[in-house]
C-alpha cells in the first residue's frame, strides 16, 4: 500500500488504513519524540497526541511535502508543546563555556548513536533548537515562530548548542580541542 493509498483510506476513516499508518510510522515518530522529550512517558504521550492530530487533520494535507515530513512536523510541534508545559525552552551557557574555542566538524565523524547521545546530553533548550535546525531542517525563522522567540534568539541558541556539543566532544576526546593541537 503506497502512501497515497494510505492517505486516501485514512481520509475515508478506513480503520485498516489508519492502523497501517500507525504501524508504518509510529516507531519512527517515537524515536523523534524521544529526541525532544526528556523521558519516555512524555515521549509516549507526545506520540499518541500527535497521531490523534494526524488522523484529525489528514483531510487538510495538501501534498506539498511528503506525508512523512508532514507527520514529523506535527509530531515536533506536539513535542514542543510538551516541553513548554514542563519547563523553560531556552537555557543559557556560562561565560566560560561561551568563550571556549571549538571545531564541530568532528561531529560528522561520529556514529549516529554517539551523535544522539551527545544531543541527549544537551540542555533542553539547546537540544530543541539543535534538533529542529540541524536534523529536522527548520529555518531559524520557522523555529522562532514555533517557539515564540526572536529569530536572533534561535540563532544564538543554536550557536550555544554547537559550543556545548564541542565541549562534550572535548570531554570525550581531548585531542579534538584545537588549543591542544601542535600547530
Amino acid at each position: 500500500m503506497t502512501d497515497k493509498e494510505l492517505l486516501e483510506g485514512c481520509k475515508r476513516e478506513d480503520r485498516i488504513c489508519q492502523r497501517e499508518l500507525w504501524n508504518r510510522y509510529s516507531k519512527k515518530l517515537f524515536a523523534l519524540c524521544q529526541r525532544y522529550c526528556n523521558n519516555t512517558e512524555e515521549a509516549e504521550d507526545a506520540l499518541m497526541e500527535s497521531f490523534v492530530k494526524i488522523y484529525d487533520n489528514l483531510a487538510k494535507f495538501r501534498g506539498d511535502s511528503s506525508l512523512e515530513t508532514w507527520m514529523r512536523r506535527i509530531t515536533v510541534n506536539q513535542c514542543i508543546n510538551k516541553i513548554r508545559a514542563r519547563k523553560h525552552v531556552l537555557d543559557s551557557l556560562t561565560e566560560e563555556e561561551y568563550h571556549l574555542g571549538f571545531d564541530d566538524q568532528g561531529l560528522n565523524n561520529l556514529q549516529v548513536k554517539e551523535i544522539l547521545l551527545l544531543i541527549e546530553s544537551l540542555p533542553v533548550g539547546y537540544r530543541t533548537v539543535f534538533n529542529m535546525y540541524a536534523i529536522e531542517g527548520y529555518s531559524h525563522k520557522e523555529i522562532a515562530d514555533e517557539l515564540g522567540i526572536d529569530e536572533g534568539t534561535s540563532r544564538s541558541q543554536f550557536s550555544k548548542a554547537r559550543k556545548a556539543l564541542q565541549l562534550a566532544l572535548i570531554k570525550q576526546n581531548p585531542s579534538a580541542n584545537p588549543l591542544n593541537s601542535p600547530s
Partner: protein, 541 residues
C-alpha cells in the same frame, strides 16, 4: 548547507524506537473519540457558563430592585422649631446643584393625632427603625373617617356625657388652639412612642414628634335637646350644620398645640438636620451586604482540547517571574424605585470604571503579588424625592349654647387635624475621579481543565476631582471640590485565555466596593458594585 551531513540526518530520520504495550493503535483511537466528545460539548458548556453568569446578574438586578432598600435606616419626623439656620451660602449652592423638577401636594383630612413621643426610649436600634417604619406606614395608609353629626338638638346632659365642654370663661383664659372638643370614648393610640435621634449640637429639640394614626372613634349622636330644656332657653347657635368631628383625647391637646405652633416656624427639617438624624444616636444605616455566593460562580468544567494552553498559566513556565498586567474593570449599581417609606429617598444609576497597570511577581503555588497604579471614575445620575408630612389643625365649627344663667353659656369647638403630604423631586448627579495604588494577590488555578484566576486587591487613593451631590439610597450631600481619601476593594474570578506565549487575557466578572472619606462630614461612604472587566497580561521570557 545543512549543519550535519545528509547521510547522518537520513540515518537519524530512519531510526525507530520500539513501542511498549501501552502505545497501541486502539489507545490512539480512544483518545481521538474522547477529544471529539469534548469538542462536541464545548459550545454547549460555554453557553451554560454564560447563562449562569447572565442569570446571576439578572437575579441580582431583580433582587436589588425589589429588596435592595429594606433595612435601610428610617428617618423619624423631627421637631422643626429649633433647627439650626442653614448657612445661606451652602443653601444657595445646594439649590443651584439640585435641579428642581416639581412638587405635588396631597392634602387629606385624615384624623391624625400628633403625639408627643417623649415617653420611653428604645435601646435597640433595630426596633427603633422598624417601629418608625410601621408608624409612618400607618400614617400614610390611614382611611379618612369623616363623621357628620347633626347638632340641631342636644341636651345639656348629653353634651356633658358625650363631649368635653369648655365654658365661656375658660375659653377666654386658654389658647384657642387648645380648645379641642373630644368625646369621652377611650382612644387607643396605635404605634409606639420613641425617642428621637440625638442631634449633634442640639440642632433639633429632643421633644420630637411623630405622626401616629388614631382609629376612627364614633361620636354618639345626641338628641331630644328640647325635652328637658327650659322654654326660655337661649338660642343654640349652629355655626355649621355639617362638621367633621375630631377624635382626640384631652391628653393629646397640649401636644397638638405644640405642633401647631411649630408648624408656623418650619414645615420640615432641612436636609442637614435630616442627615444628622439618620446618623445620630439610635439610627444607623443598615447596609445590606451583597453577598457573592458561591453559586454565582459555580464552576462548570469545560474541557479545552489540548493542554498546550495550560502551561501559560503556570508561573514557572516563564523565565522571568515578573509580568505586566493592564486591566480594565467596570461596575454598576441601579436603583429604579423610590423608597416610599422614607422622607428622603434617591434612585438612579451609578457606575464606576478603572484602568490599572500592575506589575505581578510570582511567589509560589500559582500565587502572585500585584502592585501598580490605577485611574478610576465613579459617577452617579439620579433623582431625589422628598416627602413632607405637615399636620395642622383647622377649626371646622363651633357651637354656642346658651342657658338662662349667662355664666353657664358654653362654646363647643370642633376641630380637625389635616395631614398634608408634599412630594418634591429633583435631579442629582456626582462625579468622582481618582487615582489609587492597588496592591493585591492573584491566584492561578484550574477548575477542571480550564485555567482560572482569582484576583483580590485593595487600592488606597485620592480623588483628583469630585463634583456634585453624592447620593445613597436615602440621602445626598455635596462633595464639591474636595480632596477625598478613597479606598477600593475588588475581587474577581474569571477564566484565563492564552493569546500566545507572551500574552494572556483574563476575563473578570467582579464585585467591588468603592469607599471615600468625606472630610466635611467626617463620614465614610461606601457602595458596592458588580460588573465585568478583563486583564491583559504580558509575560517575559
Amino acid at each position: 548547507m545543512s549543519y550535519l551531513e545528509k547521510h547522518i540526518v537520513d540515518q537519524i530520520h530512519d531510526l525507530e524506537s520500539p513501542l511498549n504495550e501501552r502505545m497501541t493503535f486502539e489507545e490512539v483511537m480512544q483518545r481521538r473519540e474522547k477529544k471529539k466528545r469534548r469538542l462536541l460539548l464545548f459550545w454547549p458548556r460555554i453557553v451554560v457558563v454564560g447563562g449562569l453568569f447572565t442569570a446571576a446578574g439578572l437575579g441580582y438586578f431583580v433582587w436589588n430592585s425589589s429588596h435592595g432598600k429594606i433595612n435601610k435606616s428610617v428617618v423619624i419626623a423631627a421637631n422643626q422649631s429649633q433647627q439650626t439656620q442653614k448657612n445661606t451660602e451652602s443653601k444657595q449652592a445646594e439649590e443651584k446643584a439640585q435641579k428642581f423638577i416639581g412638587t405635588t401636594t396631597y392634602k387629606s383630612t385624615d384624623k391624625t393625632v400628633i403625639y408627643n413621643n417623649n415617653i420611653q426610649a428604645y435601646s435597640e436600634k433595630q426596633n427603633l427603625a422598624e417601629t418608625a417604619t410601621e408608624i409612618l406606614a400607618q400614617t400614610r395608609n390611614i382611611i379618612p373617617a369623616e363623621i357628620v353629626i347633626d347638632y340641631q338638638k342636644v341636651t345639656n346632659s348629653d353634651i356633658l356625657t358625650a363631649i368635653s365642654v369648655v365654658t365661656q370663661n375658660e375659653t377666654s383664659a386658654i389658647n384657642p388652639s387648645e380648645n379641642k372638643v373630644s368625646n369621652s370614648n377611650k382612644i387607643t393610640l396605635t404605634g409606639e412612642a420613641m425617642e428621637p435621634a440625638e442631634i449633634p449640637g442640639s440642632a433639633i429639640n429632643k421633644a420630637e414628634t411623630i405622626a401616629v394614626s388614631v382609629p376612627k372613634v364614633d361620636i354618639i349622636p345626641v338628641s331630644n335637646f328640647n325635652n328637658e330644656a327650659p322654654t326660655n332657653a337661649p338660642v343654640l347657635e349652629e355655626i355649621t350644620s355639617r362638621i367633621t368631628a375630631t377624635s382626640v383625647t384631652a391628653a393629646e391637646i397640649s401636644s397638638v398645640s405644640e405642633v401647631e405652633q411649630q408648624a408656623e416656624a418650619n414645615h420640615w427639617i432641612n436636609i442637614e438636620a435630616l442627615l444628622a438624624l439618620t446618623h445620630g444616636k439610635g439610627l444607623q444605616m443598615f447596609e445590606i451586604p451583597d453577598p457573592l455566593s458561591e453559586s454565582d460562580f459555580k464552576p462548570v468544567f469545560v474541557d479545552l482540547e489540548d493542554e498546550e494552553l495550560n502551561h501559560y498559566f503556570k508561573p514557572g513556565n516563564f523565565d522571568s517571574p515578573y509580568h505586566l498586567e493592564l486591566s480594565v474593570g467596570t461596575g454598576s449599581r441601579v436603583l429604579t424605585n423610590f423608597d416610599e417609606t422614607l422622607p428622603l429617598s434617591v434612585l438612579g444609576n451609578q457606575y464606576n470604571a478603572h484602568y490599572q497597570l500592575s506589575v505581578l511577581k510570582d511567589l509560589s503555588n500559582g500565587i502572585q503579588i500585584a502592585v501598580g497604579a490605577s485611574y478610576g471614575e465613579w459617577e452617579g445620575n439620579g433623582q431625589w424625592q422628598k416627602r413632607e408630612w405637615n399636620s395642622y389643625t383647622v377649626r371646622d365649627s363651633s357651637v354656642l349654647i346658651g342657658f338662662p344663667n349667662p355664666n353657664d353659656r358654653q362654646v363647643i369647638y370642633f376641630d380637625s387635624t389635616v395631614n398634608e403630604l408634599t412630594t418634591t423631586q429633583g435631579g442629582i448627579n456626582y462625579q468622582i475621579t481618582k487615582i489609587s495604588l492597588p496592591i493585591g494577590f492573584r491566584k492561578l488555578m484550574y477548575l477542571g481543565k480550564t485555567p482560572f484566576r482569582v484576583a483580590m486587591q485593595i487600592s488606597p487613593g485620592r480623588t483628583i476631582k469630585s463634583t456634585g451631590y453624592y447620593f445613597s439610597d436615602f440621602e445626598f450631600h455635596s462633595i464639591d471640590n474636595q480632596r477625598l481619601t478613597t479606598m477600593d476593594m475588588k475581587i474577581a474570578l474569571g477564566p484565563s485565555i492564552s493569546i500566545n506565549r507572551n500574552f494572556t487575557v483574563v476575563l473578570e466578572p467582579n464585585a467591588n466596593m468603592q469607599m471615600f472619606h468625606d472630610s466635611r462630614t467626617q463620614r465614610v461612604h461606601s457602595k458596592s458594585f458588580y460588573g465585568f472587566g478583563f486583564s491583559l497580561i504580558r509575560h517575559f521570557n
